[in-house]
């Protein structure tokens, strides 16, 4: 057998075996009882999947009914066109920036150096990727089909309608999947074109691929508002998609649309095969090795490793020396934290802080004491996780951190300082937005930094008390070995913060009893100092 197809079949089999084992079936077990079990396994999952899709179909049918859509099948076609256009554009954009053919480190050494047929590699890698990409489209097509059947039923569902559900779904799948495959093949063909080795006559074109895709995106966006352009885009795609979702259609009409669908698929695959004859696999491997490692980590549910790899990918390779001003001693930890924060800034982090701000706002705006306390608890937990992120990454470099000639408390304050500062600013902002009376606001403003510190220190204590030097110094991926805040830490944080937080919230809901807020300040300070002391001990006494 051809080596490329051998590799393809082995990998596909391994992937299939993995997902079947996740669902509860061992593909490698060849015993007779396992074969009987396979029949049961198929029936069980078929019923389960049908039930889930029927449920989703029923919910979306109710939603469509509430919208009072004149023609649900036209809406289904529109959704299909929109999904395929947006998804294809994203695929095209990615393919013009990085090779769509993803090669792992093993592929780079074992496959990319060999004179195997590039066309076969192109096609095999495409098919492997298509299986994963097609699943959401298949699920979407089935849900839409179930919805359309559900809308035609007047008296609820019974077993007699099962055939109708299945036949409508199969009809939709027969159209949607080839169409999605055609567009993916076309995008991959463009990606293959970019990777062509020694394509001198068309080299000038390659530089324009990405801008051209960007312009195409703009045209598609503008097309929403221009009826003429929209009609052209819609006709090209809606015509075959009508065969998937349109209710009444003659067999000839359906066949013509299906034939056009297959023509798209044929053209897409032909384009891919023609373009992939001279792909530079070494370059593709160079572009995608890290991406392959991320995919592998995600595939094996190791999300923290995937995050670390993606973080490295985003960081790039070099940086000019930072121009941030530096002061000797413990200030260098702030300097380091600032560099790390600036270089690893991403939208996901901002969402966490926005969440904290939102919770803070609710604490100050709500007038219901129990709900305020629930929000306060969530605020404490969220803040604990965010403020200790830097400490966790630094613990992974234990030999550097612990070698510094700094007092434990100074070091911990510097480690938590920047993120706690941000937490305090957001707390104050929420307080300012809530517009509390001046005296009450002043007490709350004093309490906010102390409560932030209490949350951060409780989380830090939990992390430090669960960390072990041996693990932190382990030669595997360091971040993997650092403990996370767990339930003990959450309980500790909630217990530490509950009383002062409660006293503050009580004053906020009962402005006449401002004495509670006043009394909360020294109490919170005492708890904060106690937490700082225990964190320092946990750091110094780490085994």
């Amino acid at each position: 057998m051809d080596p490329v197809w051998t590799l393809f079949s082995r990998r596909t089999f391994a992937q299939l075996a993995y997902w079947l084992s996740v669902l509860g079936y061992n593909l490698r077990d060849r015993t007779r009882t396992n074969r009987f079990y396979f029949v049961y396994f198929c029936i069980f999952w078929l019923i389960w999947i049908t039930a889930v899709f029927a449920l989703l179909g029923a919910s979306s049918a109710n939603f469509v009914r509430s919208l009072q859509v004149a023609s649900p099948s036209a809406l289904a076609v529109l959704i299909g066109v929109f999904s395929i256009v947006v998804w294809s554009w994203i695929q095209l954009w990615q393919a013009t920036g990085r090779s769509p053919f993803v090669f792992s480190e093993e592929d780079a050494y074992l496959l990319c150096q060999t004179p195997v047929s590039r066309r076969k590699v192109g096609l095999a890698w495409f098919l492997q990727s298509w299986i994963g990409n097609a699943l959401p489209f298949a699920a979407g097509a089935i849900v839409i089909s179930f919805t359309l059947v559900e809308l035609t039923l007047q008296h609820g569902v019974d077993y007699a309608h099962l055939i109708s559900y299945l036949s409508t779904s199969l009809r939709a799948l027969a159209i949607v999947l080839p169409l999605q495959m055609a567009f993916q093949a076309f995008s991959w063909g463009i990606g293959a074109l970019r990777l062509r080795r020694s394509w001198r006559s068309g080299a000038w074109l390659l530089g324009w691929l990405r801008p051209a895709v960007f312009v195409l995106g703009l045209i598609l966006l503008v097309g929403i508002f221009l009826p003429g352009l929209r009609a052209v885009i819609m006709t090209l795609l809606s015509f075959p998609l009508e065969a998937a979702f349109a209710g009444s259609m003659t067999p000839v009409g359906w066949l013509i649309r299906a034939a056009l669908d297959l023509a798209y698929l044929g053209a897409g695959l032909l384009f891919l095969i023609l373009c992939s004859d001279k792909i530079h696999m070494g370059r593709a491997a160079q572009e995608t090795q890290l991406h392959a490692a991320v995919q592998l980590a995600r595939g094996s549910w190791n999300f923290s490793l995937a995050d670390i790899l993606e973080h490295r990918q985003r960081l790039g390779t070099t940086h000019a020396p930072s121009r941030l001003p530096a002061r000797p001693g413990v200030w260098m930890l702030i300097w380091k934290d600032a560099i790390q924060s600036l270089r690893s800034l991403r939208a996901g982090q901002a969402l966490g802080w926005i969440f904290v701000f939102g919770l803070g706002l609710e604490i100050f705006l709500l007038s219901n004491f129990p709900v305020q306390m629930v929000m306060g608890a969530l605020w404490t937990i969220a803040l604990g996780g965010l403020t200790t992120e830097r400490l966790r990454t630094d613990l992974a470099r234990w030999w550097l951190l612990r070698s510094l000639p700094l007092r434990a408390n100074d070091l911990l304050i510097a480690e938590l300082g920047l993120s706690c500062g941000l937490g305090v600013l957001l707390g104050w902002l929420a307080l300012a937005v809530s517009g509390k009376p001046p005296l009450l606001g002043a007490f709350a403003a004093v309490l906010v930094p102390i409560l932030v510190a209490i949350s951060a220190l409780a989380a830090a204590h939990d992390i430090l008390s669960h960390s072990k030097t041996r693990n932190l110094m382990s030669p595997s991926i360091a971040e993997e070995n650092v403990a996370r805040q767990n339930i003990e830490g959450v309980i500790r944080a909630l217990l530490s913060g509950a009383v002062p937080m409660g006293m503050m919230c009580w004053s906020l809901t009962h402005p006449a009893q401002i004495g509670w807020a006043l009394a909360a300040v020294p109490l919170a300070l005492m708890i904060m100092i106690f937490n700082l002391r225990t964190v320092g001990l946990a750091y110094r006494w780490m085994e």
């Binding site: 490295r312 413990v330 030999w399 510094l404 000639p405 780490m542």
Partner: protein
């Protein structure tokens, strides 16, 4: 020559398992000591305890009279340690790491010229702005060693320092250690490399099943 590092009754247990039986050890200024022993004999545990990275179950470590845990900043100012697998901050370049460590140890004066000289000597000058996760193992070890050399110290602890170095760098490294010995540093090397032992060792400690002895 004065005794710079004095460990007294140092022991460490992982739960019920005693990795290091109570041991006394001294490191003298201007002397290179080699720690050897089979895998799993407790060498790394001893190094981590001496470096102040792992709290010993029993015993004390004093560096020039400063207790490693009670007077931590003063003791650590005099102590440098490099593990067998050094790890770096993913977001900072080699140059920034050196600056961070030099200034954190209050050794910022003349940093730029000192860093340039060291980076050139160890062949890392061209890679100074590279993020360290792209470094090879040998480059990582060299950079780890530079972290010690960029600031003053009295005691240098090195865990398997030459395991991934090429022949030329190993020779340069040996010459460096000999020079540091001449400057009065007390050095402890944990190594399996017989050449390193025969070429440098003034004293050899042997560790087996957690029991330390002088060979």
């Amino acid at each position: 020559m004065p005794q710079i590092l004095q460990a007294t009754g140092l022991s460490h247990s992982y739960g019920a398992f005693q990795a290091l039986a109570p041991a006394d050890l001294t490191l003298t200024a201007g002397e290179i000591s080699v720690l050897e022993g089979p895998n799993g004999s407790g060498k790394s545990t001893l190094m981590l305890c001496l470096a102040g990275l792992m709290r010993p179950t029993e015993g004390t470590v004093r560096i020039e009279g400063y207790d490693l845990y009670a007077d931590e900043p003063e003791a650590k100012r005099r102590l440098a340690f490099m593990p067998d697998v050094p790890r770096f901050y993913a977001e900072m370049t080699a140059w920034e790491h050196l600056r961070f460590l030099a200034l954190a140890h209050d050794a910022g004066e003349g940093f730029e010229s000192r860093a340039e000289q060291l980076l050139k000597e160890f062949g890392l000058w061209e890679a100074r702005n590279l993020l360290p996760h792209l470094y090879s193992r040998g480059m990582s070890l060299k950079l780890g060693l530079l972290f010690a050399l960029i600031r003053p110290f009295k005691v240098l602890l090195l865990d398997e320092p030459t395991s991934a170095l090429d022949a030329a760098t190993s020779r340069m490294f040996v010459a460096r250690l000999a020079a540091l010995r001449g400057q009065g540093a007390a050095i402890l090397l944990s190594t399996h490399d017989p050449d390193l032992k025969s070429g440098l060792a003034d004293r050899v400690f042997f560790l087996e099943h957690g029991r330390l002895s002088v060979a």
